[in-house]
């Protein structure tokens, strides 16, 4: 029970179901909460959490020991959510590949400073629609296209909203 996440992942890679259970108990909760802030449909969030741990079961061997397991898990969870959202909307083309390998932790580090000071206040004054776009593109590092499928809006609208958010925040900070 006191094994590190990295140890658990190598046990999972060897087919240890109990290790998967322990990892699930440690991480499913916060992953679910975080996904819930990106998708209002609880069923889709449930499916994404499920897909995440199925993916962990199948791909644990691909985890590199020097990495941070929680960041790795979040990267998978966010991709699974996008995948579920994409399936839910009309799937147009088999060739629509998912952009692999999102680095989340570095952006998170930068955003820690946001709460304090004017930038945080300017952010909080944005409309929910604009905040959702900023969250997806800045915090989660998604492309405009990925953001579009997550939010169910056209990619052009994503770009317009991102520009509007940027302009509003800059204006807010300049006054």
């Amino acid at each position: 029970v006191d094994s590190s996440d990295t140890d658990l992942l190598s046990a999972i890679a060897d087919g240890d179901r109990n290790a998967l259970r322990i990892l699930y108990e440690r991480h499913a909760g916060w992953l679910l909460l975080r996904l819930s802030r990106r998708c209002g449909d609880p069923d889709v969030v449930n499916e994404a959490v499920q897909d995440t741990f199925v993916a962990v079961w199948r791909r644990a061997a691909s985890f590199r020991a020097e990495g941070e397991p929680a960041a790795w898990l979040w990267g998978i969870a966010l991709r699974r959510l996008l995948d579920r959202m994409r399936r839910r909307s009309r799937w147009e083309s088999v060739a629509e590949w998912i952009q692999p390998g999102v680095v989340v932790s570095a952006e998170d580090e930068v955003m820690v400073g946001v709460e304090h000071g004017d930038a945080g206040a300017a952010l909080d004054r944005l409309s929910p629609e604009l905040k959702a776009v900023v969250q997806a593109m800045v915090l989660d590092g998604l492309t405009a296209r990925e953001t579009a499928s997550l939010l169910g809006i056209p990619a052009g609208t994503v770009k317009t909203r991102m520009m509007r958010a940027r302009r509003l925040m800059l204006e807010d900070l300049a006054t």
Partner: protein
């Protein structure tokens, strides 16, 4: 780590009652802080988490899918279409049809 969000703040985050700037700070912190992850672990509710776990186990126990099925899954082909995969026939229409 010196600063930790309060239990109240994490609870408020869990029910989406925090401004984005604070919510993002909590997310950034929780992702890297084991005690805070554990504090958040039960907030979605035991019943919901158990149901997801059961569904996860079912898939873990299911027979491994073929390489083709997995590739189709990776590019977003819905599960119910993957089982009946066969090489696409020449079609006048772009994209895939059932």
């Amino acid at each position: 780590m010196t600063w930790h969000p309060s239990a109240d703040a994490i609870s408020a985050y869990a029910i989406n009652r925090l401004p984005s700037s604070q919510a993002w700070s909590i997310e950034a912190h929780v992702a890297g802080c084991d005690p805070c992850r554990r504090a958040a672990a039960d907030l979605p509710g035991a019943a919901r988490l158990e149901a997801i776990w059961e569904a996860t186990l079912e898939q873990v126990d299911a027979p491994r899918r073929s390489v083709v099925e997995m590739a189709l899954g990776a590019v977003g082909v819905p599960e119910h279409l993957r089982g009946s995969w066969r090489p696409p026939r020449r079609s006048r229409f772009p994209g895939w049809r059932r």
